[in-house]
């Protein structure tokens, strides 16, 4: 079967990051998929070798603007392992609070984007309006809405006052009330159920063999959460439940993320109530000891891994970052491939793609290759969405 490229460049209104999806189709069903992630390659691992450990923190936080707190915490924990010093417990609790706040903002963002993908604009506006409460708290505590650089090597940048802790608890009450409303909507609204149940199916066996992480693997019944299996900061002291679902589809992912929001709220309340006294930062020398360190953190999208090799100089010899979306690409491929009785329609591609919460999203151009007719063309996710609404997907 011969194919050829017809590139067109489209925009996707919700969330960006250019990624090329190459789909092989037979009629309206998708039979194969490959990815091209070269649009996002910025050479960060090489850049990190040219900066000192302390200079590397702003760069690492900007690997992903939405999971920036997870990257920051992972980086600082990783570099601190190269020193032989104890980090104050108060700093670990504060890091946990910011990390969970960041998870709340990321999950609310995703709920809005997922609602947008299935045409539910009102829910998009509602969730993003509620997210603003969380952004206000992030700004009050850290000084910035996103890319906060709150976690520093040696502790955190600022302390939290009693008054601010009180405001944070009030914000958590608002978030909890709104999240319960969204869970109710997700479980009772028939359009959501119809558009998400049975779509983007990922069996438990596939989830394990493709080594996927995060809410994807948890919505396929596997109990894997780095906060429970490899605890960091204060996660071994702050209790929480690992939320799983057995439905293995997009609906399961909606429910898992919405319920994780409630867990985050409980963790923040516990952390504030049991916040230990003491310093929030210690001063560490410029040069760490020679050695290596591996740190894993549960970012909103899944397991995030940082590895460093130091030769005792100011700059790292090697710094490796593995983001959760890279681990989930194999799962995405399994979800988008029709197998036996499981059939993937072109119209389901945007919501399935959105359900992995890609930190490489959009300007997503989907490249189709019709294996039976030997033709290829490119549509934007927008076009797929519009066509599927009008029932005009066959070409």
């Amino acid at each position: 079967m011969s194919t050829f490229d017809i590139p067109i460049g489209p925009q996707h209104p919700a969330l960006p990051e250019p990624l090329l999806l190459k789909l092989e189709v037979e009629g309206e069903t998708v039979v194969g998929v490959d990815f091209d992630v070269s649009y996002m390659h910025r050479g960060i691992e090489k850049l990190l070798e040219t900066k000192t450990y302390f200079q590397g923190l702003p760069l690492v936080e900007r690997i992903c603007g939405i999971c920036n707190a997870a990257h920051g915490v992972c980086y600082t924990l990783n570099v601190e392992k190269l020193y032989d010093k104890e980090i104050p417990l108060r700093a670990q609790y504060l890091r946990l609070i910011i990390e969970e706040l960041s998870r709340i903002h990321s999950h609310l963002l995703w709920l809005g984007v997922a609602a947008f993908e299935i045409g539910f604009n009102t829910m998009f506006m509602y969730t993003w309006r509620d997210r603003e409460h969380v952004m206000d708290m992030l700004e009050s505590i850290t000084g910035n809405r996103i890319t906060t650089e709150y976690s520093q090597i040696g502790g955190v940048r600022r302390d939290i006052s009693q008054e601010l802790a009180g405001k944070l608890l009030k914000t958590m009450d608002i978030v909890e009330e709104r999240t319960k409303y969204y869970i109710k909507v997700a479980l009772t609204e028939r359009t959501i159920a119809k558009r998400t149940q049975g779509i983007g199916y990922l069996s438990t066996a596939d989830a394990k063999s493709t080594c996927s992480v995060g809410p994807i693997v948890r919505s396929s019944g596997v109990k894997f959460d780095v906060r429970a299996s490899d605890p960091y900061t204060a996660h071994d002291e702050v209790p929480f439940n690992v939320i799983t679902s057995d439905s293995c589809d997009v609906f399961g992912r909606v429910v898992v993320r919405a319920q994780e929001l409630l867990e985050c709220v409980n963790m923040i309340r516990y952390a504030i109530k049991h916040l230990p006294q003491g310093p929030f930062r210690i001063k560490l020398p410029w040069k760490p000891n020679a050695g290596e360190a591996l740190t894993r953190v549960e970012a909103p999208r899944g397991e995030l891994l940082h590895y460093t090799l130091s030769d005792g100089n100011l700059k790292p010899y090697r710094y490796k970052v593995r983001t959760p979306t890279l681990a989930n690409l194999g799962a995405l491929r399994a979800m988008l491939t029709s197998k036996g009785r499981y059939v993937v329609n072109i119209g389901d591609v945007p919501i399935t793609y959105g359900s992995i919460d890609p930190c490489i999203c959009c300007t997503a151009r989907v490249h189709f290759i019709d294996v039976t007719k030997g033709r290829s063309w490119i549509w934007t996710l927008d076009e797929i969405r519009e066509r599927s609404k009008r029932g005009r997907l066959l070409r």
Partner: protein, 155 residues
């Protein structure tokens, strides 16, 4: 004896002299093996110990070769490392044991030029289409020019 030491001792019992050295930290085990034992040790961990989660594969260019390290495990991270030569950077792919290794091996192939024998789809992954062949950015010999950003026609 900690559980990390137990893991190493079990592998030592099975593979004996093929393991060169090891290092143990809290929930971390680093084991250095010979090239020919790399795939066998991983296969043992997957088939006999039920460790199916591959975290990632890291590759570092050292003075005497390129070090490939596969990190496996959900709670304790077991890192199996081996060093291959820079002149002939080849190592068997583990995609037939763990399906999820595909993208990690493609990334290392792009950035450091390592060939994974038996890889199902060894095409370009992270580098742009017009990137010159044979130039691997993560090698120490590749230097980004200070304050000289990409310009037309100049590499």
């Amino acid at each position: 004896m900690s559980s990390e030491e137990e893991i190493f001792n079990e592998l030592k019992g099975v593979f004996g002299e093929k393991l060169i050295d090891h290092k143990v930290q809290k929930r971390r085990v680093y084991i250095r093996v010979f090239n020919d034992a790399y795939k066998d040790v991983i296969r043992y961990l997957v088939n006999n110990k039920g460790i199916y989660h591959l975290e990632t594969i890291t590759a570092t260019e050292l003075k005497d070769g390129i070090e490939i390290m596969a990190h496996l495990g959900m709670d304790t991270s077991i890192s199996i490392r081996t060093t291959i030569s820079k002149e002939e950077p080849k190592i068997p792919s583990i995609c037939d044991i763990i399906v999820g290794a595909e993208f990690y091996e493609r990334e290392i192939h792009d950035l450091l030029g390592v060939t994974f024998e038996g890889h199902p789809n060894p095409i370009r992954f992270v580098l742009p289409d017009d990137w010159p062949e044979g130039v691997h950015p993560l090698k120490k010999s590749f230097e980004t020019k200070h304050n000289a950003p990409l310009r037309e026609g100049v590499e």
